[in-house]
């Protein structure tokens, strides 16, 4: 069973053999039965031919005795032919050494009585057949002027022919089946040969050469989709792998910088005696640094879990305006400090995880407040159509240049590449987390920024 599953060649050979076996056996049986029918017909023609001869002889004879005499004389020299002549009451002549079976004679008598009423219907009876010892006999009865002549022929020579023909046929069928199996094997091997370069290529691709592709030009048309699909898979893997590598190095950088800061600071502080205030200052700055590190690590874990669907969103109905309003009570304090006003308009309900959605909106609000110019307005607008429910956060502030707009959702992306104020900007994971949350909900996040107006939009599928 497992071999059946594993070997395509085995499977195809089996199918080949199955198909050729049924075809050949069918053909063989058909041929045999046609040959048999043909022999039967030959015998029939032969017997009726002889019957005509009997009738001819009988027409030229004057009495029954003469008929018997002439007929028996005419057929004595034919060894494969036996003869019986009877009138209504008794058998007048029988070929020597040959026994007609009793039932045939009765039948013959029946036929005689029937045929005595009907006119010369030379073809009155069908060919009769019986076994005499080991031989098969065939006979016809011919009514001749009140007599019935039964002519019988043995089919020995046909039987011999049929036996040897049958044997030859089955040998041929067996050989043909075997050959078709071999042919199937060969054809399969040959047919699968175009897979070999794909296999060879695929077996050489590893993490270091994910940019390699399987050739699609020389493969047969049937295999082209396979090669293309594999290439698409490689492309996705390459992309993810590149992102992962970039992520690891970003992470290393992200952690290395604060670590080295703390190390230097501790060592410098320890290098000579200092006042209690100075020690406290050092420790406090380290606490700040460490808190940032801790939050980066937990953000990264959260991001990884969300992206890998380990954090599966609870599906419940979430009223976006209610969440936004609650978040407003948290953020309006911060906004007031910057003389920025916040307002929620519209409404919409989506299916999803309340806490995750809240976190997504919270990240957008926090960003909007951070980048808003003083004395401006931040609008949170919720809208829904039959297909999508959107929540957008719009603020007035510095325009995000078009070329970097797609990159702001990358991990650790900061508009300020020098990373001079990490404390002000956070770890640069907020938008990546928001995007991952949206993806986990089957939604999207988009940005548009022009002439000092920046709008981030969360789009959910409308449900219900």
């Amino acid at each position: 069973m497992s071999f059946w599953r594993r070997s395509l060649t085995f499977r195809l050979v089996c199918l080949f053999v199955l198909v050729s076996t049924s075809l050949l056996i069918g053909l063989g049986l058909l041929t045999l039965s046609a040959t048999k029918d043909h022999f039967l017909e030959l015998d029939e023609v032969y017997l009726y031919d002889k019957g005509l001869l009997v009738q001819e002889i009988a027409q030229n004879a004057s009495s029954s005795e003469e008929v018997v005499k002439k007929v028996s004389l005419a057929f004595n020299s034919q060894p494969d032919l036996s003869l019986a002549i009877s009138d209504q009451s008794k058998v007048l002549y029988k070929s020597p050494g040959f026994e007609f079976p009793a039932y045939l004679l009765i039948q013959v008598e029946d036929q005689i009585s029937q045929s005595s009423h009907s006119s010369h219907s030379g073809q009155s009876g069908a060919v009769m057949q019986w076994l005499a010892g080991t031989q098969t006999m065939r006979a016809v009865s011919i009514p001749v002027d009140g007599l019935t002549v039964v002519l019988a022929v043995n089919t020995l020579h046909h039987d011999h022919f049929m036996a040897s023909f049958r044997a030859l046929m089955w040998v041929y069928v067996a050989v043909a089946i075997l050959l078709s199996g071999l042919l199937g094997w060969w054809v399969t091997r040959r047919g699968l040969r175009p897979l070999l370069p794909i296999i060879a290529k695929a077996s050489h691709i590893n993490a270091a050469q994910l940019n390699d592709r399987i050739p699609t030009k020389d493969v047969p048309v049937e295999l082209e989709p396979l090669a293309r699909t594999l290439n698409q898979m490689l492309e996705r893997l390459e992309h993810d792998f590149a992102r992962l590598s970039g992520f690891s190095s970003d992470l290393a950088h992200e952690i290395r910088t604060p670590l080295s800061n703390m190390l230097i600071q501790s060592q410098v502080t320890l290098s000579k005696n200092r006042s209690v205030d100075q020690y406290q200052e050092t420790l406090l700055s380290m606490v700040e640094e460490l808190e940032r590190l801790a939050s980066t690590v937990s953000d990264m874990l959260y991001l990884a879990k969300t992206e890998n669907h380990l954090e599966i969103p609870n599906q419940s109905s979430v009223a976006l305006e209610a969440e936004a309003l609650e978040l407003l009570t948290f953020y309006e304090l911060l906004a007031e400090e910057k003389f920025v006003t916040l307002k929620v308009t519209g409404e919409g309900t989506v299916m999803g995880d309340r806490l995750m959605i809240r976190r997504a909106i919270s990240n957008l609000l926090s960003n909007a407040i951070r980048h808003a110019e003083a004395h401006t307005h931040i609008g949170i607008e919720i809208d829904h159509t039959a297909q999508v429910t959107t929540l957008s956060v719009a603020n007035v502030g510095e325009t995000i240049p078009l070329p970097i707009q797609p990159r702001i959702f990358d991990r650790f992306f900061r508009s300020d590449q020098a990373r001079t104020h990490p404390g002000l900007e956070g770890a640069g994971l907020g938008l990546a987390i928001t995007q991952a949350i949206m993806q986990a909900h089957g939604g999207t996040i988009s940005v548009s920024s022009a002439q000092g107006h920046t709008v981030f939009t969360l789009s959910f599928k409308t449900t219900g």
Binding site: Q280, L293, A294, S295, S298, K305, E326, T329, Y331, S362
Partner: protein
């Protein structure tokens, strides 16, 4: 109050012991699961802090054995594992809290105090600290006889501080208790809110009740009693 810490990381155990000692607790530390289980089964503790990954018997098993044997002391799990299943498992076994490493010491302290107080104090309708009086039923705040008007959130914030007076409350705890922000959020908001509350409670008065403990959080206490 007597606490047991089961933690195989020696440094972590030692620092926690020092910190909790200084916060007024008597603390035993066990560095293996077997030791911890033995301590917990033979002595009486007001609260047990369990690491999950321990050599020998792990934290889950310790808690299971304890609960099977009728020991009902509150248990806080400390773990570097942040999987939802682990949290769920911990709570199913009867843990009272679950903290993911790295956590801040003030957060741990605040949670320990909350657990120890649980079920023991009757929620009073009115609390006074120095000349500040908060009436929770009437939602009225007075200081030195002067009525102070607070917004709803300011009142919640003051309520949290005064109900847990003399405790250091980390910003993350405040954000989660007052605004239900249960994830790492912008804690600048807490600073702003605290500044506003101070402008009403403390600024007009001579003695300041709300203290900022740098790197730790905030606490409300009578400056003359401490």
């Amino acid at each position: 109050m007597r606490l047991l810490i089961v933690e195989d990381e020696v440094k972590t155990g030692a620092y926690l012991q020092q910190g909790l000692n200084e916060a007024g607790f008597t603390v035993d530390v066990a560095t293996t699961g077997e030791n911890g289980l033995h301590h917990a089964m033979t002595s009486v503790y007001d609260l047990i802090i369990l690491d999950i990954m321990l050599p020998g018997v792990n934290g889950f098993e310790i808690l299971k054995k304890l609960r099977e044997n009728g020991h009902l002391s509150p248990v806080i799990f400390l773990s570097a594992k942040d999987r939802v299943e682990d949290r769920v498992k911990g709570f199913e076994l009867g843990a009272d809290d679950y903290l993911v490493k790295p956590f801040s010491f003030s957060e741990l302290l605040a949670r320990i105090r909350a657990l120890l107080r649980r079920g023991r104090t009757i929620e009073s309708h009115q609390i006074s600290v120095a000349d500040l009086n908060v009436d929770f039923l009437k939602r009225r705040v007075t200081r030195a006889g002067n009525r102070i008007d607070l917004t709803a959130k300011e009142f919640s914030l003051l309520e949290l501080l005064i109900r847990r007076k003399s405790e250091v409350l980390p910003k993350s705890l405040i954000a989660s208790q007052v605004w239900d922000m249960n994830f790492d959020s912008d804690t600048n908001v807490v600073e702003v809110a605290m500044r506003r509350l101070r402008s009403k409670i403390d600024d007009p008065f001579e003695s300041k009740l709300i203290k900022t403990i740098r790197g730790m959080g905030y606490s409300l206490e009578d400056p003359h009693t401490s």
